[in-house]
Amino acid sequence: MMPAIPTHSGRLRRFGAVNWLGLFTLTRRETSRGLKDYNYQILGPVVSSLLYLAVFHLAIRTVGGDNGSNADLLDFIAPGLIIFVACEKAFENACGSFIFDKHERVMADLLMAPLSSIERVCGYLAGACLAGFAVGLAVALITLFFAELSLVQPVALVFFAIMGAMMHGLIGILVGIWAEKWDSYAAVHTFLLLPLSFLSGLFYRVENLPTLAQELVRLNPVFYIIDGFRFGMTGTGSSNPWVGAVVLLLVNAGLFTLAHAWFRRGYRLKP
């Protein structure tokens, strides 16, 4: 005689529309894998930001001229550096996680977990953003000793920080899903993200560019991240923050939809 199947299995956890425990676990795993070796993972970006500040400071002091137009350059660069470092970390965290898991062949463990594709995107993304914010905060604290930082528009600051980290985290997820090797990660970083960041008014005022270059810069979404974040700190920017907000919301919505579709199809992750 077959044993009766119990109607209430005590072993199955039940959850509603959202598997909060699963989502929280994925987020925690993603955040901690990006921050646990804090010697390298937090101190590294802090040291490189300090180097940028030091080098610019010394360049202004020794060859910057006497007319004082470069006097506040450090205060101008500092907000850009903070959000730049946070964004880099968000990209690295999300992208590195996928490539590492593929190499170590533990991707199946993640795919087997009872998580919907939207929960997966959110988990990876939240982990990437939190790791990015942790590093950005560390850089901001150190920068306080060397440059004047203010907080004029806190809402804008938080909004643009989230949008920037999200955009880089989503690009990281997409590249991570697509990539097979660390080479792809390095290529996207060197040939796409670094040029977009460095040529986006991170270190210079876009008003100093020729007119055509100014128009081109305005096509670069990273420009709106940096300019918006700087607006949040200093209260002045090179562009209208509302335009930046709309551009970034659209870009992020597009990237999010794509990432969700890829997870749903199991693109490059499932056989």
Binding site: D37, N39, L43, V47, A54, I60, R61, S69, L73, L194
Partner: protein, 265 residues
């Protein structure tokens, strides 16, 4: 009649093995030229762009030349040294992690031949990257060579020194994290604070003393002299320092391959 099988005979130097190791080191980086040659070109141009745009028009003449021309040789040198270091260190590091380091230790290569093969491989990558970045920069900055001999001497000696430091790092590091730490906390700070982006001659006295303790200062200063004909420090001192350090590193690397420290069981 069976052919007699005798070992290949060679003199004091196993030239075929040395050449093979060197060729392997060079082909290793040429196979991924996008990362090893194109990437430094892009990064160097980005640095040039941000410094020139950030400093704007208010910049004075530095060492008798415009800021761009002052900046360019240092940027080329930074790319050369970083890549020379990366070639030797990553080659050893990856061989250790993948376990194919035995293929380097088993063949009839003497300790000196291993050192030379790896160091010359790094040197070659440094020089290739140097020529590539110089060509890229030349599109934007009118670079002129004023003293060819110092330029070649400093270019070769600096790349060789960093390649040899890369060997040491490759022998000692056990994980990629260790290598990243050496790059982030030692090589990059020394390179950034070497007077590439600013003139050490205009620092306060204490700053000058500190700057002159940095070996990267002499490399970049001497290399820049080859282009613009002006040096902030002493060329002779730099040449002596680089030669001594390279000789000492050669000896150290020879001894460490001879002993097999951290490589042989």
């Amino acid at each position: 009649m069976t052919p007699t099988l005798t070992p290949r005979r060679y003199g004091a130097v196993n030239w075929i093995a040395l050449w093979t190791l060197y060729r392997k080191e060079v082909r290793r980086f040429l196979a991924v030229g996008t990362q090893t040659v194109l990437a430094p070109m892009v990064t160097t141009l980005l640095f040039l762009a941000i410094f020139v745009l950030a400093m704007g028009h208010s910049v004075e003449l530095v060492g008798g030349v415009p800021y761009m021309e002052f900046l360019a040789p240092g940027l080329i040198m930074m790319a050369m040294t970083q890549n020379a270091f990366a070639n030797a260190s990553s080659s050893l590091m990856i061989a250790k992690i993948q376990g194919n380091i035995v293929d380097l230790l088993m063949p009839p290569l003497s300790a000196l031949e291993i050192t030379l093969g790896l160091a010359l491989g790094g040197l070659t990558r440094g020089l290739v990257v140097g020529v590539a970045t110089a060509a890229a920069i030349w599109l934007f900055v009118p670079l002129q060579v004023s003293h060819l001999l110092p330029l070649l001497f400093y270019g070769v000696m600096a790349s060789l020194m960093l390649a040899q430091l890369g060997i040491i790092a490759g022998i000692y590091a056990e994980k990629f994290d260790h290598m990243a730490a050496v790059t982030n906390f030692i090589i990059t700070p020394l390179a950034f604070l070497s007077g590439t982006f600013y003139s050490t001659a205009r620092l306060p006295e204490f700053g000058q003393i500190l700057a002159h303790l940095n070996p990267f200062f002499y490399m970049i200063d001497g290399f820049r002299y080859g282009f613009i004909g002006h040096a902030d420090g002493s060329l002779l001192l730099g040449a002596l320092a680089l030669t001594t350090v390279n000789a000492a590193l050669l000896l150290a690397n020879y001894l460490s391959f001879e002993r097999g420290s951290r490589l042989k069981a």
